[in-house]
């Protein structure tokens, strides 16, 4: 029996796709993690293949001791979320994993039309630190043991990421209407 997602996907989560989708895929990820970067196009592929049958949620799991920019990258994504731009920022960060220093993050905010002064102050005062750590803590309790870790309909997915689409397609068949 695989560990289960705790808490389940709810209002505080960043989700993409309809709430009534047959499958919910949750990723615990770190914007500086190369394995998460490699999984990103696979998730995109899943979204385009499954369309409205899938809802994707992203929770932060920054491995800050090995990835010095991961915490701030997560916080800038939260700042973007406040303006309805979480997924745009999420995509930008994964597209630029090699440039995630604070000044880069402020630049990405500006690209998305977010006031750069606001981005600077968000990183300085750490107002989203708690939000990010709460995600992290939920991951530890849910049995996340590294990044990326995925959950399909609340159950941890322990197979290879490259088989994710096939597993999700199976899950859409299994779920009763």
């Amino acid at each position: 029996m695989s560990p289960r997602l705790t808490p389940p996907v709810g209002a505080r989560d960043h989700t993409y796709g309809p709430a009534g989708a047959r499958v919910t895929l949750v990723e615990y990820g770190d914007f500086e993690c190369p394995h998460c970067g490699a999984a990103h196009p696979i998730i995109k592929q899943i979204q385009s293949s499954l369309g409205r049958d899938v809802r994707v949620a992203f929770r932060h799991f920054p491995m800050t001791k090995s990835h010095p920019h991961a915490q701030h990258a997560a916080e800038i994504a939260e700042a973007a979320a406040q303006q309805g731009k979480f997924w745009a920022m999420h995509d930008l960060l994964f597209a630029h994993q090699d440039a995630l220093a604070d000044q880069d993050l402020v630049g990405y905010a500006e690209t998305l039309g977010i006031d750069p002064a606001l981005a600077v102050s968000v990183l300085a005062d750490g107002r989203f630190q708690r939000r990010v750590r709460d995600d992290f803590a939920s991951g530890v309790r849910s049995g996340v043991n590294g990044t990326p870790t995925f959950f399909i309909n609340g159950e941890r997915y322990d197979e290879n990421v490259s088989d994710l689409l096939a597993s999700l397609m199976e899950a859409t068949i299994d779920v009763p209407l």
């Binding site: 491995m63 001791k65 530890v140 049995g143 043991n145």
Partner: protein, 163 residues
């Protein structure tokens, strides 16, 4: 077979650096988390130890001490801990090789390395939770945290301990 809950944790003294040793008894009165792992530098271990490193604050809330143990030498541990910014001690079960791992039932004689095994030991030196993982899989920390939370329950609150 690894030691099961209720067993007395075998005492040990191992080097944590070229000049310093630690003993299990140093931590009497506090929970200790023993993380046996096969080898420094191998990829899954790295993930496992990186995870434990990342959540030290959670363990500290329970006043628990994390100790990593493998058969690597102190010099290897030193280089590895520095490279990965590990903030808990790595102990060298090096001479006699694997002796402590054996006493916990966590030695893999066919490969000459420690198994990937976790133990939560209470302040009285009793094993309260243990887990033997598939050697190629990161066992995660959720089981350890659940065990620590149970330890924090007041005595007689229905815990499974039989000393």
């Amino acid at each position: 077979m690894i030691l099961s809950p209720g067993a007395t944790a075998p005492a040990f003294t191992l080097k944590k650096s070229p000049n310093e040793s630690v003993s299990l008894s140093d931590y009497r009165g506090r929970p200790v988390i023993l993380v046996f792992y096969p080898a420094d530098w191998s990829p899954v271990c790295g993930d496992e130890l990186a995870l434990f490193n990342e959540i030290l604050a959670e363990f500290q809330r329970h006043d628990a001490q994390v100790l990593g143990i493998s058969v690597d030498s102190v010099w290897c541990h030193k280089a590895y801990a520095e490279a990965r910014h590990l903030e808990f001690p790595l102990l060298a079960d090096f001479e006699p090789k694997g002796d402590v791992s054996r006493r916990y039932g966590a030695y893999r004689a066919t490969d000459g390395v420690a198994e990937r095994a976790l133990f939560v030991i209470d302040g009285d030196g009793i094993v309260r939770w243990s887990y033997l993982s598939d050697i190629s899989q990161n066992p995660g920390a959720d089981g350890v945290l659940a065990a620590l939370e149970e330890l924090s329950q007041p005595a007689g609150a229905g815990s499974a301990r039989e000393a």
